[in-house]
Symmetry: C2
Subunit: 141 residues, 2 copies
Amino acid sequence: MILLDYKDRRPIYEQVVEKLKDLMICGVLEQDAQLPSVRALATDLSINPNTIQRAYAELERRGFIYSVKGRGSFVADTSSIRALKNSELKKDLVSWIQEAKRAGLTEDKVHTWVVEEWVRQEYLTGEEREDDKSRESDKKI
Amino acid sequence: MILLDYKDRRPIYEQVVEKLKDLMICGVLEQDAQLPSVRALATDLSINPNTIQRAYAELERRGFIYSVKGRGSFVADTSSIRALKNSELKKDLVSWIQEAKRAGLTEDKVHTWVVEEWVRQEYLTGEEREDDKSRESDKKI
DNA sequence: TAAGTGTACTAAGAGTGTTAATACAAAATA
DNA sequence: TATTTTGTATTAACACTCTTAGTACACTTA
C-alpha cells in the first residue's frame, strides 16, 4: 500500500501521512473506508507501531481521518482534503514561478515545459489526451 | 546579505548554500567576486563559523566557489551554476506536474495559473511585461 | 611582524525521530 | 462470557544530525 523512502529527508511518520493523503485524494481510499490498523500497517512497513500512531494522530488532527477506539480509523470527508491539496499545489506553483523568474526563465519557456511534460506523462501512463476525447466518444455511440 | 529562517526545516548551513547560490545566479555575486570571509559572515548572521565553513565546503564541493587559503573564497564559473539551476527547476516542475495530474488538475487550469501568477508577480515587482517593451525602447531613442 | 584568511580537529550540547516495552479502555468476535 | 483486536497513552533508551565552543595550523596580505 505504501512505499517508504529512507533516502528522503522527511521523517517516516510524515511520509506515511502524505502517502495516505494521496491515496484519499486519488480515490483509492474512499470516504469512510477503513484504514489498516496501527499495528498491521506497522508490521507491513516493518516499523514501530508508535510511528504509525503518530502519523494517524497527525491525520486526525488535520481532519483527514477519524478514529474510534476498538473499531479502527476511517477516511473523513474527502472533498475538503481535495480542496486543501488544490490550494497546496497552487502555493507550490507560486513559489516555483517566483524562483523561476529570479533565475531568468521566460513565461514562454515555462509554458513549453508544461505542455511537453504533460504529454510525456500521458504517454507514459497510457492516458488519453483531450484531443482524443472525440474519438473516444465515437466508440461509445 | 542573507536572511536565515529558523522556522525552516532545512539546516542553517544548507540555507546559506542556497542563498549564496541564488545570489550568484541572479547576478548579485558575479564571477570571481570575493565572498565574505567565514568569520565575517558568521558574525553577520550571529552563528558559529563552523556552520559557515560547512556551507562553503559544500559550495566548493559542488564547484560553485573556489577557496584559497590565506586569501578568501570566490565565485566560480556562473554559467555552469545557471545551467544546473535550470535543470533543477525543470526537475521540480516535472515533479509538480506529476502530483498535479494525480490530484486531477487539468492542463488548462495549470496554464491559467501560470499566466495569472506571472503577471501578478510582475505587478508586485514593478517589472515590465513583454507587451510594454516597445514603449521602453521608445524612451531610449 | 601582525592581522586576516581558509582549514582541520575534538568535544559537548540540544533537538528530533525512532524503537521498545507496557498498559488501559472500548469494540468486535468466537 | 472470554478472547481478540482496536485506538491511545506513557516512559525510557538509543541514534542521528545540527550547532556551538575552543583550539590549532598554514598561508597571504598589509
